[in-house]
């Protein structure tokens, strides 16, 4: 692949690994959580608790999924 395209692919791959990693559901849950937090905030409802709850729950879900994949 010629340099400009190979650089773009390398950057895209780096960003995917950095943001998504090996469990895309955790990153997706964080994005959805941030959107929901913004919506709650716009409607003057306390929203600071939502992301910590998502972090705790999604870690458990992701760990359970990972341990099931182990031999």
């Amino acid at each position: 692949m010629p340099p400009p395209f190979s650089w773009i692919v390398a950057v895209a791959r780096f960003l995917y690994d950095f943001i998504v990693g090996d469990d895309w559901t955790v990153a997706a849950a964080i994005v959805i959580g941030l959107i929901l937090s913004a919506i709650l905030n716009v409607n003057h409802i306390a929203a600071w608790w939502l992301i910590p709850v998502i972090v705790v729950v999604m870690l458990g879900v992701s760990l359970r999924r990972a341990s099931r994949r182990l031999p």
Partner: protein, 241 residues
């Protein structure tokens, strides 16, 4: 004279809080991924920061920091959660010693000849965001009290003092087993990421900056709980009915 010292001490203390967050990220990432790329990332961050401060000067206080906090916070959180999860799995599986720190599938420390862009990016983001916050503090206090020079001394002094403490502690940090270190840094990145992302949305934390240690405690308790559950699962133990 009293005003000068008041501005110097206030900016020093306020900047020290931001500098602690900056140095925690740089030392944690450096100890986990290796120092070369981390320090180059931190230096790049300071370079960008210097250009921004020189170009914008006092107009810096007009720059909206909310979107930057949201982006940096969300990136730190999503990346931090990966290390948080891997750290829990490694500590649960291998205990604090790890298997000599070696994992053929997921080497925690960069060993390649080139740049470790993950370490570079994490250090760069931490320095730029926290450095900008220090610059905001300096400009706000300094311009408000008409003591910009004292505010600059307070802000830069805080970074030097906290950075020196981080430098002194880095040998101690290197003695921590790699699996545990990855868990600790994952928890710290997730804590700061959560705090900044929510702040970036314009949402106020109860207690302001005091929410950071509370978040940290919550995530430490979460890690301990999941490590226990993972160990019990590996040993085939089931909770009593």
């Amino acid at each position: 004279m009293t005003g000068l010292w008041a501005v110097l001490i206030t900016t020093f203390l306020a900047s020290a809080v931001e500098a602690i967050e900056m140095v925690t990220i740089v030392v944690g990432v450096g100890a986990t991924r290796g120092w070369r790329s981390t320090l180059i990332g931190a230096a790049s961050g300071f370079g960008v920061l210097a250009v921004v401060v020189v170009v914008l000067g006092a107009a810096l206080s007009q720059v909206p920091i909310g979107p930057l906090r949201l982006i940096v916070g969300a990136l730190l959180l999503t990346f931090g959660l990966q290390w948080f999860r891997k750290g829990i799995m490694r500590v649960a599986a291998r205990g604090l010693a790890g298997i000599g720190g070696q994992d053929p599938h997921e080497a925690a420390e960069w060993t390649g000849p080139g740049m470790d862009w993950t370490a570079w990016f994490l250090a760069f983001k931490g320095v730029v965001l926290e450095g900008l916050e220090v610059a905001f503090i300096v400009v706000t206090f300094g311009a408000g009290a008409n003591q910009l020079a004292a505010a600059v001394v307070g802000g830069v002094g805080a970074i030097i003092v906290v950075g020196g403490i981080g430098l002194a502690l880095h040998q101690t940090v290197r003695r921590i087993p790699r699996s545990l270190l990855q868990l600790i840094v994952g928890i710290l990145l997730s804590t700061f990421g959560t705090f900044w992302a929510i702040e970036g949305l314009g949402i106020d934390w109860p207690g302001g900056d005091a929410a950071i240690p509370v978040l940290l405690l919550l995530y430490v308790a979460t890690a301990l709980t999941y490590i226990t559950l993972e160990r019990n699962r590996a040993l085939g133990l089931r909770p009593a009915a």
